[in-house]
C-alpha cells in the first residue's frame, strides 16, 4: 500500500476550547488509484490531507494520535529532515487557489525550476530548461516564451496547470489535490481534470482528490470516502456508493443535488446544519440531522463497520439505508 492513514486524530486549540477537526480517520491509497475524499466545509477533509503532507498549522493544530504510513514508514515518527526530503519529491499537493499559492513576485519558470535546484541540485540554466519541459507536459501553449511570465499573466486554468506542473516536477508517487478545480469554470474544469487524470495514468501515481462536488468524483474516482464531522461515515468503490448509499448522510447528499438530466420536483434537503466542531453531538455526529435516528444513535458512536468486502459504513442501520 502506498499510503495508509490509521486512526488519525487532529485537534485545534481555539479561544473557546478544543475543536476536534479529525476524529479517527482511516484510509488508504495504492499506486495508480484515485481516492476521492468527499465532505462539506468543516468535515476535516482538508485537515487530514494537511496532516499527511506535514503542513498542518501547529500550533494551533496538533496531531493527537494515529499513524500515517507512507510506503510502510510512519511519517509522524520520522525526523523532520527526512520528511522534508519526502515532501515535494515523493508526495506533492495541488491547492485550490492557484493565484494565492504561487509567489506573485517570481516568474513561473523560477518557481518551477526551484524544485530542481533544491531537490536535485541542478544549475539555474538546467532547471529553467526543465521548467519549460514541465510546462509543455501540462500543455501550456508557447511554454518557451511564457516561462518568464508571472502568475498574474496567466488565466485561472493556466495557473492551475502550473500548480499541477509544480506538483509533478519530481515525479512523486502520491499527489493530493485539494479542490483543484473548484475555482475554475466548467469548461476549464473539464480540461484540468482530464489533464490530471491523464498524467496520473502515465506516471501510475496515487491520487487523493479532496472535493465537495459529487459530479467530479463520479467522473474520476475509483473509491470514495465520505467525511462528516471529522470521521469517515462511508467508504466504498465509486459505482456502489452512487447506486445504493449505505449511510443516510451520503444518501442525503446524493438526493439534494439537482441533476442536469432531470427536471426534478422539490429537492430533498438535509435539515439543520453541520455540527460545531467545538461541541460535536454525542453518539453519531449526524443524529440531529438524520431522518433515521433512534435512541441508540444519540448515545453510542457507530463504528465504521464492514458492509461488504470493499465497503464500510458508520451507521447502525446501514442495512435499512441500503435497501430502503
Amino acid at each position: 500500500m502506498l499510503l495508509e492513514v490509521r486512526d488519525l486524530h487532529v485537534e485545534f486549540k481555539t479561544r473557546d476550547g478544543v475543536a476536534k477537526a479529525v476524529n479517527g480517520v482511516d484510509y488508504s491509497v495504492d499506486e495508480g488509484e484515485t481516492l476521492a475524499v468527499l465532505g462539506e466545509s468543516g468535515s476535516g477533509k482538508s485537515v487530514t490531507a494537511q496532516a499527511v503532507m506535514g503542513i498542518l498549522d501547529s500550533p494551533p493544530g496538533r496531531i493527537a494520535g494515529g499513524e500515517i504510513l507512507f510506503k510502510g514508514e510512519d511519517l509522524l515518527k520520522m525526523k523532520e529532515e527526512r520528511r522534508r526530503k519526502i515532501r515535494g519529491a515523493e508526495m506533492a499537493m495541488i491547492f485550490q487557489d492557484a493565484l494565492s499559492s504561487l509567489n506573485p513576485v517570481l516568474s513561473v519558470g523560477a518557481q518551477l525550476g526551484e524544485m530542481y535546484e533544491v531537490h536535485r541540485g541542478m544549475s539555474r540554466k538546467d532547471s529553467r530548461a526543465k521548467a519549460v519541459e514541465l510546462m509543455d507536459r501540462v500543455k501550456i501553449p508557447a511554454a518557451k516564451e511564457r516561462v518568464g511570465d508571472y502568475p498574474h499573466q496567466f488565466s485561472g486554468g493556466m495557473r492551475q496547470r502550473i500548480m499541477i506542473a509544480m506538483a509533478l516536477a519530481l515525479e512523486p508517487s502520491l499527489i493530493i489535490a485539494d479542490e483543484p478545480t473548484t475555482a475554475l469554470d466548467v469548461t476549464v474544469q473539464a480540461q484540468v481534470m482530464d489533464l490530471l487524470a491523464e498524467l496520473q495514468r502515465e506516471l501510475n501515481m496515487g491520487l487523493i482528490l479532496i472535493t465537495h462536488d459529487l459530479g467530479v468524483v463520479a467522473d474520476v474516482a475509483d473509491k470514495i470516502a465520505v467525511m462528516y464531522a471529522g470521521r469517515i461515515v462511508e467508504a466504498a468503490p465509486v459505482h456502489e456508493i452512487y447506486r445504493a448509499p449505505a449511510h443516510p448522510y451520503t444518501r442525503g447528499l446524493l438526493d439534494s443535488i439537482p441533476r442536469l438530466d432531470q427536471k426534478g420536483q422539490e429537492l430533498y434537503a438535509i435539515k439543520g446544519l453541520p455540527p460545531n466542531l467545538l461541541a460535536i453531538p454525542p453518539g453519531c455526529a449526524f443524529n440531529p440531522r438524520c431522518p433515521m435516528a433512534r435512541a441508540v444513535c444519540r448515545t453510542d458512536v457507530p463504528p465504521l463497520a464492514p458492509v461488504s468486502e470493499e465497503r464500510t459504513s458508520a451507521c447502525f442501520f446501514w442495512k435499512e439505508c441500503l435497501h430502503g
Partner: protein, 346 residues
C-alpha cells in the same frame, strides 16, 4: 400569451479603459455586455448561465439599476427604467430587488438582522409605517425559515445558509414583483444549497414572484428555471425553455458547456461524449470579430470571422424542439446530456 413584466432590449455596458493619471486618455473599452435582449413574464423564472466574465452579473446590476447601461432599454411594464431618476426610479426599484452571491460580505456586520431586513423600509416608508416594522421583520424571518426571536442578533452569529436567508428576507421586504438573484447558492455547502433553492421556489409560489436567476451551475439553473439564456462574452448565444436548451441544444458553446458538467453517475462515465474546448475565454476588451465563440469553436469557418451570427431561430429548424433562438451560422442539434436513467430505483 402573458404580458411581459420586464423587457430588455439591446442592452450594452462598456467600461472605459483609460491610460495616464492626469490626462486620462481613452484607449478602449471592456465590452462586458454587448447587446443582450430578453423578456421576463410574471411568475416565471429566467435562468442566465455562463462562465466567469461573460457579463451575467453586469446584466443583473443593470436590472436593479446599480449600473447605468451604456445603451439599450430595460422596460418594466412598458416604462424604460434606464431613463428614470428621482422619485420615479425609487418607485420602480421597490419592485425589483436583488439577492447577492456572498452572504458574508453583503450583510453589514455592525447592523442587527432586524435593522438589515428593515432598512428597505427607511427608504420606502410607505410600505410599512414605523410602528409596524418590527412585526413585519419578524414575519419575514418566519417566512424564510428563521426564528423570529433572532431579530436582535448580528450576521456573524449565523451560518452561511442562514445568512443567505437573511439576504432573501431583505429582498422580500418591499414585496417586489421581481427578484434578481446573482449566484445565490454558489457560496453554500451542498446540503444547504438544496434548502435555499427549495425556499426560493416556495417563496415564488407564495408571493407570485418572477426570478432572474443567474448562476454558473447548469444543474441548478435547470432545476429552477422555466426558460434559460446562455451567455458568452457579453452576448446571449442561445435561449429557450429548459427542455430546448438542455435536451436539444443547437449552439456549439451550449453543447460544450453541457458536456463539461460532471454528472454524479459513474455509470455515465463510459458512454458520455465530452466536448473539451481548447483555450480560455478571450478578453472582453478585445473580443474576436464576427462570432465571439469562433476562437474556441470546432465548427468555425471563415464566415464566422466576418459575419456576426444573429440570435434567431435557425432556418434549418423551422419546427420542433430545436426551433429556438441560437446565434450560430452552423446551428445543429446534438444530444449531450444523457437521457434520464431507466432505473430510478433510489
Amino acid at each position: 400569451m402573458a404580458e411581459s413584466l420586464l423587457e430588455v432590449k439591446d442592452l450594452v455596458k462598456h467600461y472605459p479603459l483609460t491610460q495616464g493619471v492626469v490626462l486620462r486618455k481613452l484607449i478602449g473599452s471592456v465590452k462586458a455586455v454587448d447587446g443582450v435582449s430578453f423578456s421576463l413574464k410574471a411568475g416565471e423564472t429566467l435562468g442566465i448561465v455562463g462562465e466567469s466574465g461573460c457579463g451575467k452579473s453586469t446584466v443583473a446590476k443593470m436590472l436593479v439599476n446599480l449600473e447605468r447601461p451604456t445603451s439599450g432599454v430595460i422596460s418594466y411594464k412598458g416604462e424604460d427604467i434606464t431613463k428614470l431618476s428621482g422619485r420615479a426610479l425609487k418607485a420602480v426599484r421597490r419592485n425589483i430587488q436583488m439577492v447577492f452571491q456572498d452572504p458574508y460580505t453583503s450583510l453589514n456586520p455592525r447592523m442587527t438582522v432586524g435593522d438589515i431586513i428593515g432598512e428597505p423600509y427607511e427608504i420606502h416608508p410607505e410600505v410599512a409605517p414605523r410602528g409596524d416594522r418590527r412585526r413585519k421583520v419578524q414575519d419575514l424571518l418566519d417566512v424564510v425559515g428563521l426564528n423570529p426571536e433572532y431579530i436582535n442578533r448580528y450576521p456573524h452569529q449565523f451560518s452561511g445558509g442562514q445568512r443567505q436567508r437573511i439576504g432573501i428576507a431583505r429582498g422580500l421586504a418591499l414585496r417586489p414583483e421581481i427578484i434578481v438573484a446573482d449566484e445565490p447558492v454558489s457560496a453554500l455547502d451542498v446540503s444547504v444549497q438544496a434548502q435555499v433553492i427549495n425556499l426560493l421556489e416556495k417563496l415564488q409560489d407564495e408571493f407570485d414572484l418572477s426570478y432572474v436567476f443567474i448562476a454558473h451551475d447548469l444543474s441548478i439553473v435547470r432545476h429552477i428555471s422555466d426558460r434559460v439564456g446562455v451567455m458568452y462574452l457579453g452576448r446571449i448565444v442561445e435561449t429557450g425553455t429548459d427542455t430546448q436548451i438542455y435536451e436539444h441544444p443547437t449552439h456549439p458553446y451550449t453543447q460544450a458547456l453541457l458536456s463539461a458538467v460532471p454528472v454524479p453517475d459513474p455509470g455515465a462515465r463510459a458512454h458520455r461524449e465530452r466536448i473539451i474546448l481548447s483555450g480560455d475565454v478571450p478578453s472582453p476588451a478585445n473580443p474576436p470579430s464576427g462570432c465571439r465563440f469562433r476562437t474556441r469553436c470546432w465548427k468555425a469557418e471563415s464566415r464566422c470571422a466576418s459575419e456576426v451570427p444573429l440570435l434567431a431561430v435557425p432556418a434549418v429548424f423551422p419546427t420542433g424542439p430545436a426551433a429556438h433562438p441560437s446565434a450560430c451560422h452552423f446551428a445543429a442539434e446534438k444530444q449531450v446530456v444523457p437521457p434520464p436513467p431507466e432505473d430510478s430505483g433510489r
